[in-house]
Every structure is written in C-alpha cells, then in structure tokens.
Amino acid sequence: MSETNEITLEFDSKSKNESFARMVVAAFVSSLDPTIEEIADIKTAVSEAVTNCIIHGYENEEGKITLKCKLDKNKLFIEIMDKGKGIENIKQAMEPLYTSKPELERSGMGFAFMEAFMDKLEVLSTPGAGTTILMEKEIQSAASKS
C-alpha cells in the first residue's frame, strides 16, 4: 500500500460548515499523531481559508467549497477552492491588515495567519471564476519531537 492518502470534500458555503471543515482536516491528519498545537495551527489556517470562501468568495450567497487534503509521508497538503468572485489584486489581498470589507469588522489577518501557521501558502485566483488556496505543513514525528 502506498504511503500517500488523499481525500476530497465538497460542502455548502454555510458558516456552520467552517467548524465541520476544520474537524475533517483534524481527523484526517490525526493518523500522523500530531500534537494538539499542530492540530490547532492547521485548524486556524483552514478556518481562515473557508471563512474567506464564504464571506468574500460567495459573499454569503449559496455556493460549493471544495477541500482537498493529501498526506505524503509526514507532509500535509491542503487545497481549499471556491468558484466565487475571485481576487483582483492578490498581492494587496495578502498584505497583513488589508481587508476589502472593513464594514464587517474583518481583521484583514486571514492570509497572515495562514502564512504563520503553515509552512507554505499559495493563492491562485481568477476574478469572476474563483480562488484556490494551497497550503503545506510538515508534521514532526513523535520521535523527533523531543
């Protein structure tokens, strides 16, 4: 049996599914025996990405969000995709504190958190077509944790 494992989840763009998506990723990565801190970091990144799909991508209208997770040895790859309105200026969007919705009291720190809590972050987007977030994180094995 190969050492990779892959799942694809599609769910409705509803705020209650943010918690669900977070749990799915936590459940998926639990086979690598992570620490609670590693799980918390990953969940935060997933929350931020999924919230962005719901609030910015679909602007609270109905839509589908796709979450892909892949494990290759002890490396976790996460892809979160919406087919919403997309991002015009990705560089600006990724700047800490930048938000296009200050009226919603958004912190503008979503991308900053994803970058801080994961090893790698990539943002792909086409205005009018949607946004895809790619993230990577290596889970330390228990042996190398000490």
């Binding site: 639990s30 620490t35 609670i36």
Partner: protein, 77 residues
C-alpha cells in the same frame, strides 16, 4: 433489533456534547502533565494512551473547546 442495541451498550440519553466537554477538560490537564514530564508537547496518541480513550474522541473533543488558543499565543506572547 432493539435487543442487539441494548445488549451492546447502555449509554442512554447522555448528549455527546456534554461528554466531549468533559473529555476536553481532561485532555487539557493531561497535556500539561505530559508536557512537564516529557519536556515537549505530547502527541494526541500519547494523550489518548494516558487517558485510556480513543484518539478519535480527542480529535472530536478539541473542537468543543476554544480552538483559537493557538492564535492567542501568537498574538499575545
């Protein structure tokens, strides 16, 4: 078929959310104890082993708690 069910378990009407909160509390304490003992963050299997519960239940219990803990640490440390 109700017979099979009663034979297998008798957990009655207790809400999952309640036991998950209890588990979350135990996990929190055990994490600290193991952290002190090992000198590093324990893994979820280590916590599960110490508490004699399933890793699955720990994963579920984590969600019933404040999951933004790690955020706070980063901002306010």
């Amino acid at each position: 078929t109700g017979e099979i069910k009663r034979f297998l378990r008798d957990d009655g009407m207790i809400k999952v959310s309640r036991t998950l909160k209890e588990t979350a509390g135990k996990v929190k304490i055990t994490r600290e104890i193991l952290n002190n003992k090992l000198g590093r963050e324990p893994t979820i299997d280590e916590i599960a082993c110490e508490l004699q519960i399933e890793t699955e239940d720990i994963v579920m219990a984590l969600e019933s708690n404040a999951e933004v803990e790690s955020l706070y640490k980063t901002i306010y440390q």
